[in-house]
Amino acid sequence: MLITCPYCGPRDVIEFTYQGDGNRERPQPASQDLDAWNAYVYDRLNPAGDHNEIWQHSGGCRAHLRVVRNTLTHEISSVAFTRGHHKVAARHKAEGKI
């Protein structure tokens, strides 16, 4: 599996570290909303198809990346730096990609 890092270009997956589901929304640190925290820690979409994920290019430029990976085919349809990834995720959701 190759991930095309926006900085380094296409690299083998061995250079990357999976940082978890990219759909999670962390509640505000002071939040007392236990359901929101429970959802943040445990609830996952686990889709059979495109999945919004966070990866780190730990064996390269060390940037954190937002990756859309198809869990059935491993096809990677989008890679971007994580900054602003919630906006991109929202757009993908609106476009029906995830």
Partner: protein
Amino acid sequence: MVERQSPLEPAPLEPELRTGSHGDFEHGIEVILSETRPGSILQLAAWRGQEKELIAGIRNVTGLTPPDGAGAGSTDGVRSVFGFAPRKFTVVDEAEGLASAFAGVVTPAVGTVTDLSHGRTAIRIAGPKAEWVLAKFFAIDFALPAFPVGAGRSTMHHDVFAQIQRTGADQFDIYVFRSFARSFWKALCHASEEVGYEVQ
């Protein structure tokens, strides 16, 4: 500054660390390995939006201008600079004291200066088969059009993080963690055996 000791000093049972020809060199030497021992190896990082300031500072101090683009860099044989991550650069000088030269230029408002001179070992691999040997180690494109002279790459070999700068058409400088340098050097030697290599 504290005197540095090379991690690649020869030892009786490790012939690949001795200067001279090794491997299958009867048919010619196609790879040359050496330790460049630069006096200064720095990592410079710019805060978001401060990249132009940082590049101007690098130009003022070293006289080198890293070209635009990811992983781009340049070298004049004495000093070298290349980007290895977004807004981050490795700057190398044969002389010591580069960190203090940057101290007044890269201010806390612009970014950070990290002196890695004692933490990295610089290994130079040169010769017609240098590209071929490195291609055994790293899954990146070493061809000249994809990896031009001056450019840098961050990658790794078996979890040994390596920054590679092309400093000539058939010459690369590899910066590895000092503690891994000896083992990495020996791996380079073993990979070069079949084409004949010289340690300088």
